[in-house]
């Protein structure tokens, strides 16, 4: 049975002013899988992620061509609410940015923006999210202390929990482990492997090894072009394009 496509990109290009960043990318992203987007720096991996929840709208003079479909619906249709889209498609950034609030308030931030969520619902949502992000044990005694006082690895997992509290369908992660120690990295990866059972996950890993550890599918971007896309096994063992081969064997990038 072929996996269902959660997200479809149809000939998507993105420009910053006159500069093309992402060029003519067509890609299907399956539900309940982890897609790893790899490629050298400046190849528009982050740009691609930001397009998926329309954070790209915030770029001054940014311009998008092509269509992005979520469950078959164009996310740029005028009747799509961008704030609602962003709760369906959550994102974790490379550098954890806790808001200057308590841990509890950080995790409850998204759900609190909606009306009519009770305190007890929030409490259980916060706990559930922190558990799923594998950080509950470390913060349960200090939920009302500032999130900024946590270590980098804990902050990043709290930021993941903050996204999980949105109860999103898609989780985007942009080099989420780049600043983390190996143990925190392992915890995040384990959390992702559990989460993919009922989420669509798109990650820009910070290295090829991470892609091979957790990716079901791999897309290789270079210079804003999608060079190759396939199952992790295929891309890593029998890359179709010599540039992919060069990249994963570490000949450049």
């Amino acid at each position: 049975m072929p996996p269902t496509a959660k997200i479809v990109l149809e000939d998507v290009s993105f420009y910053y002013g006159q500069e093309p960043a992402l060029q003519h990318v067509s890609l299907e992203i399956a539900d309940k899988e982890i897609l790893a987007i790899i490629g050298p720096g400046m190849s528009a991996k982050s740009t691609l992620l930001r397009i998926l929840n329309r954070l790209s709208d915030l770029a001054t003079e940014g311009r998008l061509e092509g269509r992005v479909l979520l469950d078959g619906k164009d996310i740029h249709d005028p009747d799509v609410s961008v704030t609602q889209l962003r709760t369906r498609v959550g994102v974790v950034f490379a550098v954890p940015v806790p808001l200057p609030l308590s841990i509890w308030d950080n995790v409850a931030y998204g759900p609190q923006l909606r009306r009519g969520v009770s305190k007890s619902e929030l409490d259980s949502l916060v706990e559930k999210s922190l558990r799923a992000a594998a950080v509950w044990d470390e913060v349960e005694d200090r939920l009302h202390e500032p999130a900024m006082a946590l270590s980098g690895g804990q902050q990043q997992r709290v930021c993941l929990a903050r996204v999980l509290a949105l109860e999103p369908e898609v989780i985007l992660l942009d080099e989420p482990c780049s600043g983390l120690d190996p143990i925190s990295t392992m915890k995040v990866e384990e959390a992702l492997l559990t989460l993919k059972k009922d989420h669509c996950i798109v990650i820009v890993p910070h290295n090829v090894q991470q892609a091979s550890r957790i990716g079901d599918r791999v897309a290789f971007l270079m210079g804003g072009e999608l060079v190759e896309h396939g199952s992790a096994e295929q891309v890593f063992t029998k890359p179709r394009d010599s540039r992919t081969d060069d990249y994963i064997t570490g000949r450049f990038g």
Binding site: N53, L55, L58, T83, Q84, R86, T87, G90, V91, F93, V95, V97, L99, P100, L101, Y109, G110, L113, P146, M148, A149, R162, V163, L166
Partner: protein
């Protein structure tokens, strides 16, 4: 022969220190002089009684109360518009010719002499809008004069909040307004409060803008309503220093001392608030 480097360094350090100390000296002298000259006039009666005998005796209560009312009125008229405009310019306005014009207007407003505000207030509020010489007219005039300070400090305080907080708010499905309310404004609050108080402080001490809009020469009673005239400390000080023959020097300096304490108290308040919030800030 070259002067050794550490000698130049010492000389430069000396000059800079002297300059810093030099700035403090006039301030200390002014304060000390006013305290020494005026302290003898200060008594409970001085701040709680009406002036008598052509202001040569009694207290300054109506002027003190008038200045308090005018400061409150200025706050009420200038804070909502000033903070609102600052939020708009920092968080919403695109960089286009309209907003550039608004910014230019604000900068120029800040440079308008206060007596011009006074005349403007006379024309618009006292005569055209028929408020007459009144606390309302004076407060509005002072409020407009204070706007530029509040707008630009609000804008700067917001601009110093890291952009990443706004992106996180957006990425969690927050609207710009939700981000402002829940994160940005709270972080910018100490800066905004400081700006507001500094603006109000200046308004409290101004004479020219209230001269034609509210200030009474001699009105030994408290104002009945917001449409009433009132005495006010800065104008009262001007009057007793220049317009009343045979005025005891001590009363002049006593009045100056009360005005100074009023303004410095606001200043102290601003410092305390800023310190309180800065200690709680986490970035």
């Amino acid at each position: 022969m070259r002067v050794p480097r550490y000698t130049t360094q010492k000389v430069a350090f000396g000059i800079i220190t002297a300059a810093a100390v030099g700035v403090v000296i006039p301030l200390v002298l002014v304060i000390a002089y006013i305290v020494v000259q005026g302290i003898g006039a200060i008594s409970w009666e001085f701040i709680s009684a009406m002036p008598r005998s052509g202001m040569r005796e009694g207290g300054i209560l109506p002027a003190l109360v008038g200045t308090i009312w005018l400061t409150i009125g200025t706050a009420v008229t200038s804070i909502p518009f000033g903070v609102g405009a600052g939020i708009y310019l920092s968080e919403y306005a695109a960089d286009n010719s309209l907003t550039r014009t608004i910014r230019l207007a604000i900068i120029n407003l800040a440079g308008v002499p206060s007596v011009v505000y006074g005349l403007f207030g006379l024309g618009l509020f006292v005569i055209f809008l028929r408020f007459g010489m009144s606390i309302v007219a004076g407060s509005l005039t002072l409020g407009i004069m204070t706007l530029p300070v509040i707008i630009s400090t609000t804008e700067q305080a917001l601009a110093s909040v890291p952009q990443s907080f706004r992106i996180v708010n957006a990425s969690l499905g927050g609207t710009t307004w939700q981000g402002i309310r829940k994160v940005t404004l709270r972080q910018a609050l100490p800066g905004i409060i400081t700006g507001v108080i500094l603006g109000l402080e200046r308004a409290a001490g101004e004479t020219a803008p209230i001269l034609f809009t509210v200030a009474a020469f001699y009105l030994p009673r408290l104002p009945h309503s917001a449409l009433d005239q009132t005495m006010a400390l800065p104008y009262h000080l001007f009057v007793i220093s220049t317009q009343v023959p045979g005025m005891p020097i001590q009363i002049q300096y006593g009045t100056a001392l009360v005005l100074m304490v009023f303004v410095l108290t606001m200043n102290l308040l601003a410092t305390l608030i800023r310190r309180y919030f800065r200690r709680r800030r986490q970035w």
